[in-house]
Amino acid sequence: MTAAPHEILRVTDLRTYFPVRSRGLLPRVIGQVKAVDGVSLSLDSGETLGLVGESGSGKTTAARSILRLIKPTGGQIELEGVQIANLSQAALRPIRRKAQMIFQDPYNALNPRHTVGGIISAPFRIQGVEPPGGVKAAVQELMERVGLNPEHYNRYPNEFSGGQRQRIGVARAIALRPKLIVCDEPVSALDVSIQAQILNLLKDLQEEFGLAYLFVAHDLAVVRQISHRVAVMYLGHIVETATRPVMYSAPLHPYTHSLLSAVPVPDPRIQQTRERIMLQGDVPSPIDPPSGCVFRTRCFQAQERCAVEVPPLIEVVPEHKVACHFPITVDEVAARARAGKIEVPEAEEQMTGSVSGPHFVEPGPPHA
């Protein structure tokens, strides 16, 4: 670690809403999708916060809003003491060197017509930075650092495998020595043997440069491997946040219990005998989220109160926050599972339950 840990990022009550328009010749705004609805989080240097959730949870929208790739509807984003939520694009440009992004799909995140050298040196050109020793030397050093052959400077992305392309993306992200890197599902498109290589690389770079990672992923085992703290999102809200050991061994939110229990364990003896909480149906549509607690329609703890009262995110023990009226411990869940008393509500009967339906299209990121 390069310096004593200090706060890099503080997000307060972040909200990102997308308008829903009617179809036809003259579309009107008929509602809104609250993709991110009141998210608060903070991140120190040298620290990884894992942001976990299923599709439609708003984790990617939250991450992109924090980098101002999507304009947030409300809330504050403080990056190293600077408020960036309302800055203009021009005023943002010098800030962008502090915060970079690594994308999920290494095939689409790299321009196929540019050489690797051109791709990795783009941040220098855009920010007008002249690294000591020249751009080419700096790029080749970066390539070496991420495990690429510096002699491949003039090659094109299609000459590299998926894992190598993700290394190119990592080299580009660290070129300007940022403080924060938002990693959006950085390994989920990679084969398992390559995933582990990239996770190790990210860990090494974090230790070397004191990087803060906001690590967005759906794979709970991957998040456990890399994160110091974890936040679980569901339908635009953070429902639980804790340090990694607490989140994986002593979660309190019924949704976190269900998620952890749904991940198959690669050991047939354990996997085929363990008690599991089987949620029914899918995540409800964010256009028409449930009243009160957003998880109540699939929750085995739900009671009448959950339908009327939104549970606030409360710190139950230091560094462990839960948004639930009826939190439940691991032991209580296990005892109830043994007694066969975990009753999960039936799947909802709404016709268009699809999150990825044709109703709204998430705007793509403008080029940073």
Binding site: L220, V265, R269, S354
Partner: protein, 359 residues
């Protein structure tokens, strides 16, 4: 039990042939860059009612194996040689119309993306009715009744209404259920599931895996599950075939593959995955390097360039001699030049490290 034999040339059909038997299967594609050898000599067989997981990374040939069984490779421009016996019938020598008659009735397939087998313009119920009428001579009303029963069976809530829904009106998990219902509507003997849950959220994945297991028990279907996820394999498979570079590299019962794997690639895979049931290792232990190009496979062992142990084999055999898939224990086959005792020692060492996670 799974039986695998390396056989040269074609075998005479015998009455005791297992339910599914693939013999010396080769599949290649001509591309601009050269000949892609997608499957490079695969032989394996499967007993009725079992679930076989075919595990491998992208480019390992696992999906092409499934497509070859379904008779889909030729229409994709591939060359197939070898024999595929399903329930006493050889498939590879059949005419396209004959294979088509079997597809959907004797054997069916479900895909990662349900939209690839559901037509966006037609109501889901009508699509299943069409699948029934394509193979059986029954009335339309009877077919619709059967469709409704099947939709209820695969866990579609309010099936009476959803039978008339279009695919886009259903969620991802619902579409997957519809596709499974459509695949099973003609009671196929063999169901091939190609990454059936990869596009789904984990809570929905758990539901779909449970559904496949339940239906398999109920219908007595033999299942081939193609996946890269070793957690899913542990959940549902009876037998496992590990593929790498177009070849089978290790085959055995699921418990054997997880508790006593011998092929260095299988060990590497098990070491690579972050897992939640163990102490957290400081670092993962990945397989180094990248998978081989299927256009330019290594001449000896396909895994040699990434293997940590090939220098322990005398005369550099791994570089030049192609290892055979040989039995190391009953029902357990391994393709590796290392002597069995040495493989078992390496396996024990790696598993001890994994269990303690001291890295």
């Amino acid at each position: 039990m799974i039986n695998v034999e390396e056989r040269e040339g074609s075998a005479e059909p015998s009455p005791e042939r297992p339910f599914l038997s693939i013999e010396n299967l080769f599949v290649s594609f001509n591309t601009e860059d050269g000949v892609v050898r997608a499957i490079d000599g695969v032989s394996l067989s499967l007993e009725r009612g079992r679930t076989l997981a075919v595990v491998g990374e992208s480019g390992s040939g696992k999906s092409v194996t499934a497509q070859a069984i379904m008779g889909l490779v030729r229409s994709m421009g591939g060359h197939v040689s070898g024999e595929i016996w399903l329930d006493g019938q050889e498939l590879n020598g059949l005419q396209p119309e004959e294979v088509q008659a079997l597809r959907g009735s004797e054997m069916a397939m479900i895909f990662q993306d349900p939209m690839s087998s559901l037509h966006p313009f037609y109501r889901v119920g009508d699509q299943i009715v069409e699948a029934i009428l394509a193979h059986r001579k029954i009335g339309k009303a009877a077919a619709r009744k059967e469709t409704l029963e099947m939709l209820k069976h695969v866990g579609i809530p309010a099936a009476e209404r959803r039978i008339d829904a279009y695919p886009h009106q259903l969620s991802g998990g619902m579409r997957q259920r519809v596709m499974i219902g459509m695949a099973l509507i003609n009671s196929p003997q063999l169901l091939i599931a190609d990454e059936p849950t990869t596009a789904l959220d984990v809570t929905v994945q758990a539901q779909i895996l449970e559904l496949i297991s339940t239906l398999k028990e109920e219908f007595g279907t033999t299942v081939i599950l193609i996946t890269h996820d070793l957690g899913i394999v542990a959940d549902v498979a009876d037998d496992v075939a590990v593929m790498y570079g177009g070849r089978l590299v290790e085959v055995g019962q699921t418990s054997t593959i997880y508790e006593a794997p011998e092929m260095p690639y299988t060990l590497g895979l098990l070491s690579s995955i972050p897992r939640m049931d163990r102490e957290l290792p400081k670092r993962l232990d990945p397989i180094r390097g990248n998978p081989p190009s299927p256009i330019n496979l290594p001449p000896g062992c396909v895994f040699q360039p990434r293997c940590n142990y090939s220098d322990r084999v005398a005369n550099g055999a791994c570089l030049s001699v192609r290892p055979e898939l040989l039995p190391t224990a009953p029902g357990h086959l391994v393709r590796c030049h290392l002597p069995a005792e040495e493989r078992q020692q390496i396996s024990a060492d790696v598993r001890r490290i994994l269990a303690g996670a001291q890295r």
